[in-house]
């Protein structure tokens, strides 16, 4: 089981920028002198890490937009990884 608190509010860490790159046809995360190319699912989660939504509401929104349920574990796993990488912080 993941350790992510569903009421926590994630946001991008200071100095990180999330954007669509036309030339790469990919969402990327930019940071000091570096760049990560994101998978579609990673991009979908990060786009909602806006410092306002809780983890719970991110899960609900993504389940609605993908018309599925049971992806909560995937999302929290990704959030754990993103936090470990220093991409996100919790408000």
């Amino acid at each position: 089981m993941s350790q992510v608190d569903f009421m926590a509010v994630p946001r991008l860490a200071q100095g990180y920028r999330f954007q669509w790159e036309e030339a790469q046809q990919n969402h990327v995360l930019l940071y000091p002198e570096g760049m990560v190319q994101l998978s579609d699912t990673a991009a979908a989660v990060l786009s909602l890490c806006d410092g306002e939504r809780t983890v719970q509401s991110i899960v609900v929104e993504l389940e609605e937009s993908y018309e599925t349920d049971g992806i909560s574990e995937d999302i929290t796993q990704f959030l754990e990884e993103a936090e470990a990488q220093g991409w996100i912080k919790y408000a």
């Binding site: 200071q14 100095g15 920028r17 954007q19 790159e21 036309e22 030339a23 790469q24 990327v28 930019l30 940071y31 000091p32 002198e33 570096g34 760049m35 220093g86």
Partner: protein, 372 residues
């Protein structure tokens, strides 16, 4: 020929002017004079063209980019275009108000470099009293809400103080610290006997960096780059020629790596005359070391050729006379003995016969091309 990917990194070397005189500078010995620099329009054109091709990371570098009065205009345009922009600076030429202005205009990151952790050594190496101001600027950068990124260029003359450098980084609440060993290009190569660290220094610095890395896990990231002279394998210079990285020199010359100006037989082009896209995809210079057809032995048959692409061509040229030779830092290179000789020579501790050459216009004019 496989499809050529677009550049992701644009290095805008907006000027060679610099208030500092660091003898480890990797700029060429012949500095571009101010009168030959691209004007604001010229740089805006570069930013537009590179972004359209796909460049996402932008470095403002030099020289000291703060010398340019139009840096604010370039930063604002970079933000509009969607670049992630990095200012690589000594800190000399800004104050807290200018840092704040950069922030408002959308600059993403400021990297402040230090020559050492204490005023005496720092200012000796910089050739000017800059240390106190650097400290203030590092604090101003942090206070402005930027991630704090510090860079210490390390070499024989300051490498014994890596622990103190990291202590300073902790005090300044750095998020990232780069301990970058001098790369022996340009001025640094002319000063190699003074700057090349000993093996003991390199290993000790590595040990100290590891201790701090462990201690500061999750708080501060430390990057320690072992000098290629001690690695037995070359670095993949600029992640491979014409693959990721495009540099524009102060005069508009477009370079696959920032030292490429020194290579013979390269037909380099200028953004004043050609579109960046043509230069990147079509020009002979950018295609010169793409692929593997140019390779000689031992690179041609080496199973690591897709990892390091033969290493640094500028280093191969400067040390062996032929840029198509394997980078001599590679132990497989038949010229590797040149690296071993350089290490042996520097161990002797150079005499005053060849003094440390500080990077100044006057020295740039006085020196003739160096021979090794």
């Amino acid at each position: 020929m496989p499809k050529i990917p677009p550049p992701l990194w644009l290095l805008a070397e907006v000027t060679h002017s610099c208030p500092l005189q660091c003898p480890y500078c990797s700029n060429p010995l012949e500095l571009v004079p101010k009168k030959d620099e691209l004007d604001t329009e010229g740089w805006l054109k570069v930013l537009h063209q590179a972004r359209k091709m796909g460049a996402a990371q932008l470095g403002f570098s030099g020289g000291e980019p703060l010398v340019r009065k139009d840096l604010e205009d370039l930063i604002a345009e970079a933000r509009k275009l969607g670049y992630y922009s990095n200012l690589i600076t000594s800190g000399v030429g800004m104050d807290a108000a200018r840092v704040e202005k950069f922030r408002e205009l959308g600059l993403d990151h400021i990297q402040v470099s230090f020559q050492a952790d204490d005023a005496t050594l720092n200012d000796y190496l910089a050739g000017t009293n800059a240390f106190q101001h650097k400290l203030e600027m590092a604090r101003a950068v942090k206070a402005s809400g930027y991630p704090m990124v510090l860079c210490f260029v390390i070499h024989r003359q300051n490498m014994h103080r890596v622990a103190q450098m990291l202590d300073l980084a902790v005090e300044l609440q750095a998020d990232y610290v780069e301990l970058a060993t001098t790369q022996f290009e340009g001025w640094a190569l002319a000063n190699r006997d003074h700057l090349l660290p000993t093996l003991e220094q390199v290993r000790e610095a590595e040990r100290v960096a590891n201790v701090y890395q462990e201690k500061l896990k999750g708080k501060m990231k430390i990057y320690y780059v072992v000098p290629d002279y001690y690695e037995n394998r070359p670095k993949a210079c600029v992640a491979g020629w014409g693959r990721v990285f495009i540099a524009v020199a102060p005069d508009g010359l477009v370079l696959p790596c920032h030292s490429a100006r020194s290579l013979p037989g390269l037909d380099l082009h200028n953004v004043r005359d050609h579109d960046l896209a043509w230069i990147w995809y079509e020009s002979p210079a950018f295609n010169y070391f793409r692929g593997e057809d140019w390779m000689k032995d031992p690179c041609r048959t080496c199973d690591e050729r897709e990892k390091d692409f033969g290493g640094c061509h500028c280093q191969a040229f400067k040390l062996t006379g032929d840029p198509k030779n394997a980078d001599p830092t590679c132990a497989k290179s038949p010229h590797h003995y040149l690296i071993e000789q350089a290490i042996d020579t520097s161990k002797l501790n150079p005499t005053s016969a060849k003094p440390l050459l500080f990077r100044k216009r006057q020295n740039s004019i006085n020196i003739s091309p160096i021979t090794i």
